[in-house]
Amino acid sequence: MWVSRRYIWCGLIIALAVACQESITAPGACPDYCPPSRVDVFDSILKSSIDRDSSFRGYVPAHAAEGLQLTTQGSSLESRAVLRFFRFPEELTQGVVGAGDSIVGLDSLRLDVAVRRRSPDVLGMELVVHRLPVSVDSQTTYADVVPFFHDSTIIATLAVPDTLASGKLSARLDASAFPTFESDSLRAAVGVALRADSAGFLELGTLESDLPAVLNRFVKVDSAGGETAEGTDARPTELDSYVALAPPSPGPDALAVGGIPSARAILRFDMPRAIVDSSDVVRATLILVPDGAAYGAPGDTFSVRAEGLTADFGPKSPLVPPTAETIALGAARVGVGASDTVRIDITHLVRPWRVDTLLARSLMLRIVPEGAILGEIRFGSSRAAIGAPAIRVTYMPLFPGVSQ
């Protein structure tokens, strides 16, 4: 029988095409028709797997923070902003109105500040601007500036609209606002306090957040025709900081996190190898017991973050840079005044310990934004008789020989 070669080749092509299909996924009929390996899930609270923990202060000082958190007068952590502006030149520099003309006299000034956030439900807020000596610096303390915050030093008051969540505020200052402006080599410094109908807070921008306070100068200049004209220039802050009443010092068995200058706590883990090296951790929760109520601005909340370390060098340990996937992980929200147990999910930090044995099995606790808020919380350390940190781990043992 003669068979066309064309049909034979068609048959071969069909056979090869059929060879490409596959659909073998099916619901399992357990236990009879499932693999014998059972994968159990275990949950353990490890109370003695954290040791050699300690806290260190001084990571972000107030003058290097992204914000200046002001609290209303009478708050337990009352705070004031301290702003010192760059020196104005004796002549207007190129590029501003009146440049090249001689300054005949100072007409007025304008202070611009940027509000980053505020207590949303506190009404009648006012920023009260006081004149400060230009000798204020990053070492100036709350006690140092208190004598300068009285009615006789008020040079302006900025009403904060109740509807303003964030934005710019300006205040016109008389030429007489800074009587020593000339003798201070054309430099000026101000302090800002917050007043409101009830306890609250307001946060000002800084040079670090690209929202610095700015002092604008309006002067009379001698124009080319011998007549008087107006000129203006501006200077941002060369120092923007804030000072506050300090909370009580933490006890020897406490781990301080947050505050100004900001403090961080380092926790070192010594977890059983059966869990870290021979299991898949599906959930890990760090359990921290506060050693008292959280400090901070009235009504404020802040975020306590746990971050991994690329290497454990003690207080100067480099943090693992967050990725897009982890940026929102490993944090817990804490309300000022609260003393509830804080639970932070650290699954994404613990899981890499199995595959990357060079990673430090340590974590750093800090608050976000660091240094820009007064928020501070103290947790019991591993040395504390009650309230030591613990880790709760939910894990699945690996198959023998699992490669990933």
């Binding site: 068979v3 034979i8 073998i24 009879d32 599906v282 959930r283 899981r351 990933q404």
Partner: protein, 377 residues
């Protein structure tokens, strides 16, 4: 010449090592897997009845003497199946693999023939999804598991046959049993606080086997064949460690081909395997039961000497592993044909099988389509 090159190209494309596995079955999760068949498409279409006499199968090394010229054969098989277990009905499953290949021929100016073959020993390919709930941290958490295994235990055979006389041939073979499976366990939690887990591992298998056989043709219309095979214990390794060993069976096969007329041949084959020797190992490994197995096949070939022979067969087989004390049984109804081309230097063969498996609390129904291409360079 061009046609031969094209055919060899198709053969090479089909013989992809990554796909050297066989069809899956609901029974693949039991024991060391679903047992494979070291038979070609012609033997399949005859219900396996000529296994002990077919040079295109890898059962009887003496049958290798049937290679009158150098010949290479590669087989592809596609399964379309459904199964039911305890109220669970699954349909629309399909997969395609390359379960068998052989190359063999005579050694010039000697009464010796050789063959090297690849065959499936046990298929361990499956992909199962299950759902459950767990109580974690005091809350009920739904979980979805996907458990898959991809791979097989394979049988590489080298065989030599000696033509003692025109009516008697003997042969011996060495089998290297190897292979690996990649097992993946994937668990997703219904609560996003729990991280999805994917665990992956590879399991390797190794053993050796020996076979011997004889074929005889006492009359022009009668051919007889018999073979025996024994294998060492199958070592199962994971991460470089031996995690288990399983006894492999002794196999005894026999067959007869009877020429009813010059163009009609009837065949009968019987195989017995002592799988019960693996019972303790299998029970410890997976909790399944293991039984000795019998296979009986019978087939008829019409137009055996014509250009396009037509074949039909029936096969009854017992499967070695079951999750219960009830042994699983299989009935195959087969049909097929072969078409030579390229001046009889190549042939395209195909078989269609209806497979009915019952037992162990499951029922499986499958269509198995197999194609082979053999070439004589």
């Amino acid at each position: 010449m061009k046609r031969r090159a094209l055919a060899l190209l198709a053969l090479a494309a089909a013989f992809s090592p990554a796909d050297l596995e066989a069809q899956a079955s609901v029974y693949s999760v039991l024991g060391i897997g679903f047992p494979g068949r070291a038979v070609g498409v012609r033997a399949r279409s005859l219900g396996g009845a000529i296994e002990a006499l077919d040079p295109g199968s890898a059962v009887n090394p003496a049958a290798v003497a049937g290679f009158r010229a150098l010949r290479a054969v590669v087989t592809t098989g596609s399964t379309f199946r459904r199964y039911e277990t305890d109220g669970l009905a699954v349909e629309g499953l399909r997969d395609t693999r390359f379960p068998f290949a052989v190359i063999g021929g005579p050694v010039a100016r000697t009464p010796v023939s050789f063959a090297a073959s690849y065959a499936l020993y046990a298929d361990r390919t499956f992909d199962l999804q299950t759902g459950d709930t767990l109580t974690l941290r005091g809350a009920t958490v739904p979980v979805g598991d996907q458990i898959s295994s991809d791979g097989a235990v394979t049988d590489l055979r080298g065989a030599l046959a000696w033509v003692v006389s025109r009516s008697l041939q003997v042969g011996a073979g060495v089998h290297i049993i190897s292979g690996s499976t990649r097992e993946v366990f994937d668990r997703a939690f219904g609560d996003t606080n729990y991280t999805r887990v994917r665990q992956q591992t590879e399991t390797g298998f190794s053993a050796v086997g020996f076979s011997a056989g004889v074929t005889a043709a006492p009359t022009p219309w009668l051919r007889l064949g018999a073979a025996v095979r024994t294998d060492t214990r199958l070592a199962e390794t994971r991460g470089g460690l031996v995690i288990g060993r399983v006894n492999l069976p002794t196999t005894v096969s026999g067959g007869v081909i009877l020429g009813l007329t010059p163009t009609v041949r009837w065949s009968l084959g019987v195989t017995w395997r002592s799988w019960s020797t693996a019972a303790d190992d299998v029970a410890a490994h997976s909790g399944a039961s293991a039984f000795d197995t019998w296979e009986v096949g019978s087939g008829i070939e019409l137009g055996a000497t014509s250009r396009i022979p037509l074949r039909a067969g029936f096969r009854y087989a017992e499967l070695p592993f079951s999750p219960t004390s009830e042994q699983v049984r299989e009935i195959d109804l087969a049909a097929g044909a072969g078409v030579p081309f390229a001046g009889n230097r190549a042939a395209f063969e195909f078989a269609v099988e209806r497979q009915l498996r019952d037992g162990g609390g499951a029922t499986e129904r499958a269509w198995f389509l197999s194609f082979s291409l053999w070439l004589r360079p």
